[in-house]
């Protein structure tokens, strides 16, 4: 992990910008951060310093619950550096409303195992010292809950 030579191929590594730094600081410490508008109360993602619903700059960062449901996906069958095929490229809907692309881990990558609206919870994969990416896994049975069908916007 600390080898000075080029590491084995990893997933593409994101490069934070000033507007997104809080998000990647959060994932590094095991927190999934979204933003919420102080004027209209909309929760949103990806990060930006204003509300996409009402254009207000009066917004705050908050920790999401990490609970989500599986919204849609494909299972990629071709070989990609940093990934073991086949693997699902998924979009999940967070409990707070926003959706995000991710991978589903600790789960067979099959249509039978990946059921739309299944309950998920966030987990984090450390890619390097700076970047950890949020991934999702099936929620513990004790924490499972009815699938959310609430509209995002």
């Amino acid at each position: 992990m600390s080898a000075p030579t080029a590491p084995a191929r990893t997933r593409p590594i994101p490069e934070p910008t000033p507007e997104t730094a809080h998000f990647w600081e959060g994932t590094r410490t095991g927190e999934l951060r979204i933003q919420r508008c102080s004027d209209c109360a909309s929760a949103y993602f990806p990060p930006r310093p204003f509300c996409p619903a009402c254009s207000s700059r009066n917004v705050e960062v908050e920790a999401a619950s990490g609970r989500a449901t599986l919204y849609s996906y494909v299972i990629h069958h071709r070989e990609v550096p940093g990934f073991t095929s086949p693997y699902a490229i998924a979009v999940v809907e967070l409990e707070e409303g926003p959706r995000m692309m991710t991978n589903i881990v600790e789960c067979e990558q099959t249509p039978e195992a990946l059921v739309l609206d299944m309950a998920l919870e966030v987990t984090f994969e450390q890619v390097n010292d700076e970047i950890s990416v949020p991934l999702f896994r099936p929620a513990e049975a004790s924490q499972s809950r009815p699938a959310s069908t609430e509209a995002v916007r």
Partner: protein
């Protein structure tokens, strides 16, 4: 309805189609442009406006020897050419140019003279999509489908029907890349790319190009070809990140663009004789039929299954074979409009008898953008 005062007077594709290793991307733009100028009886000296995507309009002007007074480099993906037609119509109406050339050329397969493809790691896509392993359109454009399928009870067979029926159209087109008949089993049994999308549910990757020339409807009557008038136009964009679409069962950009075009043209759906919907993947015609309002939500799979879009059906769709069977260089919107123009000139290989109104509806990126053009061969 100002748009009704503009017409297509030159239209052509590249001389060859499919695999063209002897021409660069810029060369393909020029080949289509030269063919369209010959079609209209014009030379570069007659052109005073240019638009293109995938290539700099500055390169095009210098390469072709054109001195433009109007330039449009709008580049929002494969529907950019629909947006160019819309902008060109406004420019001609406003007197910014009189004779506008719109070109497309793409060495999608041979990759001659092509720039790199990639997303910056600090872009929104680079931070919030690329880390999860999407590799191009087959793994991004396709993601919304499962949500549509669950919402409306659609199946993989519904996707396959799109490919099968378009192959029937392609069989009538000598320039189509693939013309052999297909069955639903052939489609679903082809190599898995990104479940549930098999290879035959994904578009081709070929070389090619094409160009259109527009001028005012008043002048159009003096050109050698039958004029094809622009009745209505629409455009919109939604998001560069497919994960951030408002609703995975419908495209907002499709709905906004389509409604604008219908409103501008002042026509109803029953007036439409022929339809082109950009089919980068087999679910696109399903979304397009619904979002343009030809059928209700969730009704397109049955509409296609009942052969309404097939040969002899009431709404002939993608009659060149589409991106699934005809060709797809990467930015297919130009070919959709070329087929609309051929149909309205009455020279299409799979001619729809008596067609008077045709719509070409395009998508850009992965549901990122949209453009809609309503054409007619009847002078407005």
């Amino acid at each position: 309805m100002k748009q009704k005062s503009v017409a297509v007077v030159g239209a052509a594709e590249t001389t060859e189609m499919g695999k063209i290793p002897n021409l660069s991307q810029l060369g393909l733009h020029a080949d289509g442009a030269l063919n369209a100028m010959a079609d209209a009886g014009l030379t570069a000296a007659d052109i005073d406006g240019i638009a293109c995507a995938g290539e700099s309009p500055v390169n095009l002007a210098q390469y072709m020897g054109i001195v433009p007074t109007w330039v449009d480099g709008t580049s929002v993906g494969g529907c950019s050419f629909m947006l160019h037609v819309r902008h060109a119509a406004a420019a001609i109406n406003e007197g910014l140019a009189t004779t506008i050339l719109i070109t497309h050329g793409e060495s999608g397969r041979s990759r001659v003279g092509v720039g790199g493809y990639g997303m910056a790691r600090a872009s929104q896509n680079g931070q919030f999509e690329m880390p999860y392993g999407p590799m191009g359109p087959p793994t991004m454009f396709t993601i919304p489908w499962l949500r549509y399928a669950k919402t409306y009870g659609a199946t993989a067979e519904d996707l396959a029907n799109v490919a099968v029926i378009q192959r029937e159209w392609a069989a009538l087109n000598p320039r189509a890349s693939y013309r052999d008949p297909l069955t639903v089993d052939d489609v679903l049994g082809s190599r898995m790319i990104a479940w549930p999308f098999t290879k035959l549910l994904c578009c081709l990757v070929t070389d090619g190009g094409g160009a259109l020339i527009l001028t005012s409807a008043d002048r159009a009557k003096d050109f050698p070809q039958k004029p094809v008038y622009v009745l209505g136009t629409g455009e919109s964009v939604e998001t560069q990140m497919v994960s951030q679409m408002e609703d995975f069962t419908t495209s907002r950009a499709f709905r906004v663009s389509g409604k604008k075009a219908f409103d501008e043209a002042g026509i109803t759906h029953d007036d439409v004789d022929h339809l082109m919907i950009y089919d980068a993947f087999a679910h696109l015609p399903i979304y397009g039929l619904e979002d343009l309002g030809f059928v209700g939500k969730g009704e397109a799979p049955a509409f296609i299954r009942e052969r309404n879009t097939a040969i002899g059906g009431k709404l002939p769709l993608n009659t060149n074979g589409g991106g699934l069977s005809y060709m797809h260089s990467g930015m297919y919107g130009m070919y959709a409009m070329q087929e609309s123009v051929r149909q309205l000139r009455g020279i299409a290989p799979a001619q729809v008898e008596g067609a008077e109104i045709s719509i070409a509806h395009g998508v850009g990126g992965m549901f990122a953008a949209s453009g809609t053009i309503i054409f007619s061969n009847v002078a407005p």
